[in-house]
């Protein structure tokens, strides 16, 4: 069996697995919608009496909220947990012997998971958000195109960041607290809930130099039309640079880490 068909098999398996639990599917949609509505109400309440703050009106913020909720589904990664469990149980040695590279398996598992999540969670959330919060239309055609380019890079930045982070499993035995730290930092500093342009200048400066805002903030900014084609280019370049840095460091770190695998238990 060639690698390609192995990958497509892993991908399909994940889709079937995600669809197997009907209750979870509905509960997930409900919970995610509740969180999305809470954020939308927050913006509506806080914008009462203001037309525009930091160049964004309440309509922009509602679009931002809906699109961010749908995007968050594309950024679900399980690679950290998978590798942590595998290292804990000692099965990582066996996994590495498999004819398909370990991280490729994790990547296609995540991709399969995300594909099914997009259809069973993402689309319903988009629909409910459009009906009850506001139609989240992009500012214009160029904005939409730039958004998709940026989103594609965001997806890989997010995945490589998770994969790079997962390698810490080889160093520390219990990763759970670290995974939480990563999750919270990403949630709060990436602009996923509150855009960083509401932060003070100094904080914006620091965050602009870190990779997090290139996961959520940049695609969302492009979507609501905060950049023109000219002003977007430097931003997209920085995003590309982060993608190269993160994927490069991942490959380098993976090579050196897997050489010194220490199997616990097993």
């Amino acid at each position: 069996m060639s690698n390609k068909s192995a990958y497509s098999f892993i991908y399909k398996m994940r889709i079937q697995k995600a669809l197997a639990y009907r209750f979870d599917v509905f509960a997930n949609i409900i919970f995610q919608c509740i969180a999305m509505f809470a954020t939308a109400f927050f913006w509506k309440a806080i914008y009462s009496g203001y037309d525009s703050v930091q160049g964004a009106g309440v309509y922009d913020m509602l679009t931002y909220t809906v699109i961010s909720a749908v995007m968050s589904i594309l950024f679900v990664t399980t690679v950290e947990f998978k590798l942590m469990e595998s290292v804990k149980k000692g099965t990582v040695a066996m996994d590495m012997l498999k004819p398909v590279p370990l991280f490729s398996i994790y990547f296609f598992e995540d991709l399969g998971n995300i594909t099914s999540l997009f259809f069973i969670n993402g689309l319903p959330i988009l629909l409910i958000g459009s009906l009850f919060i506001g139609m989240p239309l992009p500012a214009d055609g160029v904005s939409a195109a730039l958004f998709f380019v940026s989103l594609l890079m965001s997806f890989f930045i997010n995945w490589f960041f998770a994969a790079l982070f997962s390698l810490l499993s080889f160093v520390t035995i219990n990763m759970s607290p670290l995974i939480q730290v990563k999750k919270h930092i990403l949630r709060l500093l990436s602009g996923s809930i509150i855009p960083v342009w509401f932060f003070p200048e100094w904080a914006q400066g620091i965050l602009g130099a870190l990779p997090f805002v290139y996961i959520y903030q940049l695609p969302l900014d492009l979507y609501i039309g905060r950049y023109t084609l000219q002003t977007a280019m430097p931003k997209l370049t920085i995003q590309l640079v982060w993608l190269v840095i993160l994927s490069g460091s991942f490959y380098a770190a993976e090579k050196s880490m897997t050489k010194k695998v220490m199997v616990q238990g097993g």
Binding site: A38, I46, I194
Partner: protein, 264 residues
């Protein structure tokens, strides 16, 4: 009386076990000691930034919001110490883990919650107390005996309300047999509704969160009362907490009847 003493002895012994387990893995605890404060300090910083841009949130300025946020995080911390298992009940149901509890001569609900203390929850207290103290300072909260009592009642009530809701939510897994924990969403929803003034949400949602799911009594109503100088809200919180917890325990009992010790 004997019986109550026995229950207390058992749970104290498990407190000791929990501390010993924690000491066995110091790095793990240090990890949480960093992660939980970071989460809430960053969370509060974002509120501060937003308020700096907008002035107030529904008439609540920065000091009042810190006061509210502090109460929300402190009660969150206590609910994590005692009742976090409610979030993961699905895992226990699917894994058949209640078998063990049912075979022992103690109440199942008691064992489920009081034979495994989550010492890690104490790490949430640090940011909670810091932000609360800051808020108290900003709003010139007067530490009279009455107010101290009110704060204690309020924290107890708020913890019971949260715990009760976690148990009720978890109990559904006896029927759904789902191990999905929704912990992330649960926390996000509680954060959104307890850390910001409830009055900013639509009327319908306020009514639901006041009379049906009593989340408003965790922090918003008692904090509002305390800030205007009365401890009435805190007393009501405690009463609602006791009622919620009692209902949750009864519901749990009903749910347990549907437990099939399914195993995997």
């Amino acid at each position: 009386m004997e019986r109550i003493k026995h229950y207390i002895d058992v749970s104290l012994y498990h407190v000791k076990l929990a501390v010993l387990t924690m000491l066995e893995y110091p790095a793990n605890f240090v990890g949480w000691l960093l992660s939980n404060p970071i989460q809430f300090i960053l969370g509060f910083a974002t509120i501060k930034f937003v308020v700096a841009r907008f002035g107030t949130i529904n008439g609540w300025d920065y000091g009042h919001l810190a006061f509210l946020y502090g109460i929300a995080v402190i009660s969150h911390a206590f609910s994590m110490i005692f009742f976090v298992q409610g979030w993961f009940m699905g895992e226990y149901v699917v894994g058949g883990d209640f078998d063990r509890y049912m075979l022992r001569p103690l109440s199942v609900l008691f064992q489920f919650f009081f034979t495994q203390f989550n010492i890690v929850g104490f790490t949430d207290l640090i940011p909670g107390v810091c932000v609360f103290a800051y808020g108290c300072h900003k709003v010139h909260f007067h530490w009279s005996i009455g107010n101290v009592m009110a704060v204690l009642l309020l924290i107890t009530g708020a913890t019971l309300i949260r715990g009760g809701i976690y148990i009720i939510m978890g109990t559904f897994s006896f029927w759904t047999k789902s191990r999905n924990d929704f912990a992330g969403f649960t926390q996000e929803f509680f954060d959104k509704t307890t850390m910001y003034p409830l009055s900013m949400y639509p009327r319908m949602m306020q009514i639901i969160l006041t009379y049906i799911i009593p989340i408003g009594w965790i922090s918003y109503y008692p904090a509002k009362d305390l800030l205007s100088g009365t401890g009435m809200g805190a007393v009501i919180s405690l009463v609602i907490g006791v009622v919620t917890m009692t209902l949750a325990a009864l519901f749990f009992k009903v749910g347990l009847r549907s437990y099939e010790s399914a195993g995997q």
